[in-house]
Symmetry: none
Subunit: 132 residues, 4 copies
């Protein structure tokens, strides 16, 4: 099972709507079950540096099938996954990446959002992830 | 002058429509005047390897403000730009990347398409580039 | 709006003058609104390792439109942006990078300085950023 | 013996003057004897993709203490240095990079220029290299 482009575009549209509703400018990335990019948009005026971060958040969420913030709790100094960010060409492990599931609960991809506080990033990613 | 997301989405939609019309599955990337990604879609079933190629084509077209195929004519063995592909983290210099201009003729970004023959890639990129 | 080379050279000259005034040897980099390098100088005897750091500071300041030191406060262990440095091919998040604005307050680029203490780096970057 | 910043700035100024005289927009890079960047400028409107190329030309010229075009003659298919461009993080081996010598004929650095035809690039690099 893999996310389709039509599904990814539905996620992006829902995330954009949420981003606008809370007055933020976001980079929004959706990857498939293979952790490869399916859709991406950068809203006008969004931080340039968040382009790469949004894609890395989406990949990180699919790499480990969990919210990026959970990985980040384990990657702190002394944590069991300390500095895991060095793997896979660079992970981003703070909130804003969320796995995407189909109606059967199977993971079919992930969404990553970056451009504001991590709370806002996570909220916008959540709006996208729950759009299916 | 820089391309907006709304403009980039118009380019992507036109390119997708053309890709469907000629029965191809494409990766479509749009970068801004700074050669940074603004929008991207991968059509269902499109080659995975064309993901990176479409982005590199868009960047290459903006890097030199010309169609990627023109760079490729000059980078052949014995040509004046032989092996220019080793610069900028990797260029793609066969057809499928086209600069995008606004109504005043200023370059505001570029589109890159990959997923079929270079003729088809170029045709789909052209449909996108002329959508503004 | 994008910084011009003439403006970038004015920034570099002001930063060099400040570096000399406080008896330091600096690497000084200026990027444009697209985070691409516009001007760079390495003063005689400046640390070689600071070459890349000055460029990464300038890019980081433009990537997030804030002083690099602010990013660094948030990227500490336990902070909301922990290990953000793994994005964008490597960020530098300690002081010395500052966005550059035009007379209308629009960000048109950024300056990054490295070669001494972070306090001195920041002071020299500030002398550059305020030269317009 | 190593090039000084004052010398590098003299090279850059001479190269800029030549670029303007022949109506071109150039990226101009100067490296020292250690092949590390000393000075760089990107003229307004110069190709973005030539930024990296100008730096790689300067490094290539110093890496092998010869004009980049000479390396390029040897790196052609069947040539003795075929595909040498894959080394050192990417070489550029077409004309536009020239070693810089002091009054005693010792190589103290190199200049790399990119932004027009390779003939123009080489002419502008030559104007810089002979400015000492």
């Amino acid at each position: 099972m893999n996310i389709t482009l039509a599904q990814a575009e539905k996620l992006v549209a829902a995330a954009k709507e949420k981003a606008t509703a809370i007055d933020t400018k976001m980079n929004i990335a959706v990857v498939d079950a293979g952790a490869n990019l399916v859709a991406f948009v950068r809203m006008d005026g969004a931080w340039l540096g968040s382009l790469d971060i949004s894609i890395k958040k989406a990949k990180t969420a699919r790499f480990f099938d969990m919210n990026t913030g959970i990985v980040g709790e384990l990657s702190q100094p002394g944590g069991s996954l300390y500095n895991i960010e060095h793997s896979n060409g660079g992970l981003i492990t703070f909130p804003g990446g969320i796995p995407v599931k189909n109606a059967d609960g199977e993971i079919i991809g992930a969404i990553g959002v970056s451009g504001s506080s991590v709370e806002n990033d996570h909220a916008v990613a959540g709006a996208g992830a729950s759009a299916l």
